[in-house]
Amino acid sequence: MPRWKPDPTFYPSPRDAIAGPPEKLAYVAAFDRAAQTPDAIAVLDVDPGSGSYGQVVGWTSLPHTGDELHHFGWNACSSALCPSAPHPHAERRYLIVPGLRSSRIHVLDTRPDAAAPQVVKVIEAEELAAKAGYSRPHTVHCGPGGIYVTALGGADGAEGPGGIALLDHTSFEVLDRWEADRGPQYLAYDAWWHIAHDVLVSSEWGTPSMIEDGVVAELLLGRKYGHALHFWDLRGRKHLQTVDLGDEHQMALELRPAHDPTKKYGFAGVVVSVEDLSASVWLWHEEDGRWTATKVISIPAEPADPAALPPVIQPFGAVPPLVTDIDLSVDDQWLYVSCWGTGELRRYDVSDPFHPVAAGSVRIGGIVNRTPHPAAPDLPLAGGPQMVEVSRDGKRVYVTNSLYGAWDDQFYPDGVGAWMAKLDSGTEFTFDQRFFPHGDAFRGLRPHQTRLQGGDASSDSYCYP
């Protein structure tokens, strides 16, 4: 039944979203690396006033095993208020949850009980393949004309090209392959847009065979992983321009465009440079009508005793930071950068996007350091800050520790464990000692992306400044 008034979680502008109420629940994708038990969406209580704060209060198992949940997203968000095709009386209600390994896409209904989502639809890999020609669905964004799902692989065993499948807003059926003209684009990973400018941006990781059994050293040193950004005409579904970051910059992953719809810039994280193992963050922007990208943050590798390193990086005698996720606050003022290798979460003031200023850092986990959480100072932690999600108001930052099954095993061969942490971000940038679900809280599964009830910094886009 459609609503009489707009969904209260839809906000016309970033400013309105920031003023909205804090989230009370968080949804976390969790997967079983052994593919023995079903993957699940864990529901966490994030209401500090609640008796079960910081605990897993809901658990929705999926119908199959071996899906490898990774990223997911809401069926509808603030883009529903955009004036070109408004549907303000839709509901932010369903979680669209792809299995990165199985290529199934699950639809979970968060009503009537937000703490107990129900699986209401499963789109099989065959449907995604037949209608869109893709496999390995990844990023989900609620957008103009449908739900956009990026996919890393081609259909029927084809390695590529990866791209975007469009899902119907209401029936969740796969509509079609989004691209009308993909130009030279072949590799895929993330995609988002400058919605008010009709521009879509996409990034590159690798094809299924390049990632599913772990990072392939020869391909990495041969600079074969993705290292470019692609700019598209969102309206005409046409490729406009490739911006190559340089092939030493391997794996250009997460894309965080400015939320302010009058702005045309955004940040992209690069996992590793094969020249010096550093990681970097790039700013894309327009210059004389052409898109370009500038490296604005570089994070060096940290020297380490080779004996303390896993085989995959032992020859280098250093720990790469491995920037695997970044997130931009809704007010476009703060950028959070996950260093999954060194076990560090950095905060930058990006009010001048060309000149980020370091504004805080915390350590947790890490390949060598194994820094414990302050709430459990005797417990060394594996994994590092990985998926990072920022609350709409920018005051709370959530991180989980798993990257991707096969890659976890390479970089943390003695076990990556499972933990989630929360930071309070204000004048200080510190761990919330009351929030540290870990170990058995995740029932043997590994946590990946977090989505917040009512939206978060990486789910909504806005048509009004």
């Binding site: 459609p2 906000y11 408004p86 103009p144 008010a196 009709d198 400044p465």
Partner: protein, 220 residues
């Protein structure tokens, strides 16, 4: 045309103008997009004011197509048949709007004024804005008189001018209301008002279509 039906025509125009989805919101969005920087407020206001006539033109075209269709049909087919057929189409379309969960699809925010008029034409057409005026179009005195006394050609001419009159009055009302809301929201209120004041006009709209169909049938 009676005073009562003229008033109803104006009210329907105002109702279409009131609907954010019919265009004033797009005009405001275009204005806000330009508002940053020095002198931005004035530039944005100019964009709002430029957008409104384009939106009204698209709306008028959507109404006009239906008006001409009805007028021309009435010049060759008995008025009662047209009214009954129109009423049935209206009720059916209204029910479909009420029950269907499909949304208007359109991707694109950066439009030229011509494209904006095209957008408005499509938006109005798929929501049945013109169909809602069928009761007026099937009850036009001029067309009926022409049909009886002046033969087919004169009847078509009269019906056409009456159709243009209906389109003009309706669109003027739509334009005035949409324009007033756009200016007030842009200058004073701001868009946060959408969160509380954007009622689901689609459902009221569907009910209005069904109502218009029933009136057309009842007076046929």
């Amino acid at each position: 045309m009676t005073e009562g039906s003229l008033a109803a025509l104006v009210v329907l125009g105002a109702f279409h103008g009131l609907n954010p989805g019919m265009g004033w919101l797009f005009a405001v969005a275009r204005g806000f997009q330009e508002r940053s920087g020095e002198d931005g407020r004035r530039r944005g206001r100019a964009v709002v004011l430029q957008s409104l006539p384009a939106i009204a033109a698209g709306h008028a075209a959507a109404i006009g197509v239906i008006a001409i269709l009805v007028a021309v049909t009435r010049s060759v087919v008995a008025g009662r048949t047209v009214a009954i057929a129109g009423g049935v189409v209206l009720v059916g379309f209204g029910l479909w709007r009420l029950l269907s969960r499909r949304h208007f699809r359109w991707v694109g925010m950066r439009l030229s004024l011509a494209q904006l008029a095209g957008w408005s034409f499509l938006m109005s057409s798929v929501h049945g804005a013109g169909l809602m005026l069928v009761p007026f179009l099937t009850n036009l005195d001029g067309a009926v008189a022409g049909h009886h006394h002046g033969g087919v050609a004169a009847g078509a001419g009269n019906a056409l001018s009456a159709g243009i009159f209906v389109t003009g009055v309706h669109t003027l009302a739509m334009f005035v209301v949409a324009g007033a809301i756009a200016v007030v929201v842009y200058e004073v209120v701001g868009l946060a008002v959408l969160r509380h004041a954007w009622f689901n006009l689609d459902r009221i709209w569907a009910i209005a279509l069904i109502g218009a169909g029933i009136i057309t049938l009842a007076t046929a």
